[in-house]
Amino acid sequence: MDNQITPQNQIRNQIRNHIGRKKNNSDRLMPRFFLIMASVSIITTVGIVLTLITDAFHFFKEVSIFEFFSTKLAPLGANPSFGILPLINGTVLSSLIAMMVAIPIGLTSAMYLSEFSSPKTRSFIKPILEVLAGIPTIVYGFFAYSFVTPILMKLIPTLEAKNVLSPGIVMGIMIIPMVASLSEDAMKSVPNALREGAYGLGSTKLEVTTKVVLPAAMSGIMSSFVLAISRAIGETMIVAIASGSSKNFTFDITHSMQTMTGYIVEFTSGDAGSGTTGYYSLYAVGLMLFIFTFIMNLIAQYISKRFREEY
């Protein structure tokens, strides 16, 4: 019956052809196009890891792993040596200082915003935190170098013009919004029934916050701390400007120190010729940095999954 040429069949065939053509043109091609686009993100990650590993491999052909984990760093000397420990030391110290600023202030701000504040103050403070989070890090770097360091120098006369204390503090300030908003989210998601229960037993607001809400939100809060540490480790411009480029291995925070990120920035903006050991050392340091932040993120994911309290 399909083969008979009747007006009905003609129309039916036309519709079929039309649908078939459309399928060919768009519904078959578009998913492939989008798939290719989506693959770019995978290629980027693979690319990052491959670049870091191959170039770091070149580096380790020339520099032994023992030298890499030593305390002597002099990449531009006549007899260059590439010990990464001074850089790790600078990174850890500056991140520690940052966390000593960010955790207390961030957590108390989160407790205030989530438990104590009226909706009006909240709607006033939240945008300010968002603005702080949106300021480019280079601006914080300028702030650390031209404002915080001179003030600290008056308080601590032995402070050097470039030191690790001032960028550490400013980095902490930069991270406050992140700690505050992530912890606040965690505390907000604690069900109200728990709070009501504690109030019913005669608790004050503070007791409800510290003894009920905080323990219940602990997984989210801890993972916000770990993410903040990861952010501090990867932060570049503040330390590049304000902590200088001294490659000495020291624990004195009033001295200049270089972080891993600072090393990468200083060494490329100098003239690291392609193919030299110095050039490849960038990728070895970059690989260490990548591993550090990657581990931190895994820990954060683990904490928020493992210790999540379900209600």
Binding site: K23, S26, D27, M30, P31, F33, F34, M37, A38, S39, S41, I42, T44, T45, T51, L52, P104, I105, T108, S109, M111, Y112, F116, S117, I125, L132, G134, I135, P136, T137, I138, V139, G141, F142, F143, Y145, S146, F147, I176, P177, T204, L206, S230, I233, G234, E235, T236, M237, A240, I241, T261, I264, T268, S269, G286, L289, F290, T293, F294, N297
Partner: protein, 314 residues
Amino acid sequence: MDIRSEILNDKGINPMKSNNPTQVKVEINRQRINRRVLINEILKKVFFASTLFALAVLSVLLYRIIAQSIGWLDWHFLTSKLSIFPEKAGIYGVIIGSVGLMVVVIPVTLILGVSTAIYLEEYASKSRFQNLIKVNISNLASVPSVIFGLLGLALFGRFLNLGSSILAGGLTLSLLVLPIVVVSSQEALKAVPNFLREASYAMGAGKWTTIRKVVLPVAIPGILTGAILSISRAIGETAPLVVLGIPALLLKVPTSLMDDFTALPIQIYYWTLDTVLTPEYANLAAATIVVLLITLFLMNSIAIVIRNKTQKTY
């Protein structure tokens, strides 16, 4: 003396002589409650003060920067070229460099980011591959920006031989902000209610037609908001560009995408570093920061306006 008798002594009650145990108990309880309420009130103020700390820092930061830029930020500063003499220096070439970066970043991130989001939300099944892309994107978002600079240096700078051109810088920044665009576009697509799609299918429309004519028009405001926010992140990003090897003092104004360039945050960086030699550079850096912050503020305001004007509820 134990705490109990101490409290009672304060109140003028002698625990030894008082022969009303209820009165003693009530008095002790009231003391304890008062103390707890007092601590509550004090710590509430402490928490509030620490919340205000952010506000204080923001005002000091803005005040310092604006105060330092006064007298330096004028029409001449915006329209003349860089110079080693602070009085003559202007940021015309720097602004052109930043605009050039955006010319690369905006189309690349929009096309790549929105396509990835459409694939993940509309086409991909719950397969392993889709999961892989998802994990990848969340990991990409947490890689330090300086590492993207290393990737750009190896891939675009050395391998594709783009050097430190606008194109190399723009592509590096695009990869950096790609995860933000993908995640925000995904959110926007998720917010499109399913009955719109089903209605479209019921009318006989194919998948792509549905996406193009039904889903995207509804999701576009959300996608745009995310895109603007990620672009404002790209404008302020310094580290990846410094790693690419941007020259510290570039007197030539870039004319094509293959030219060397310098951008607002990079110029701030170099001027800040050089304040040791020439103190006036701090004023130039502050003036450039004001230009950068005003740009970011305008972009964020646009994003908020778009979000508020086009918010629909289904």
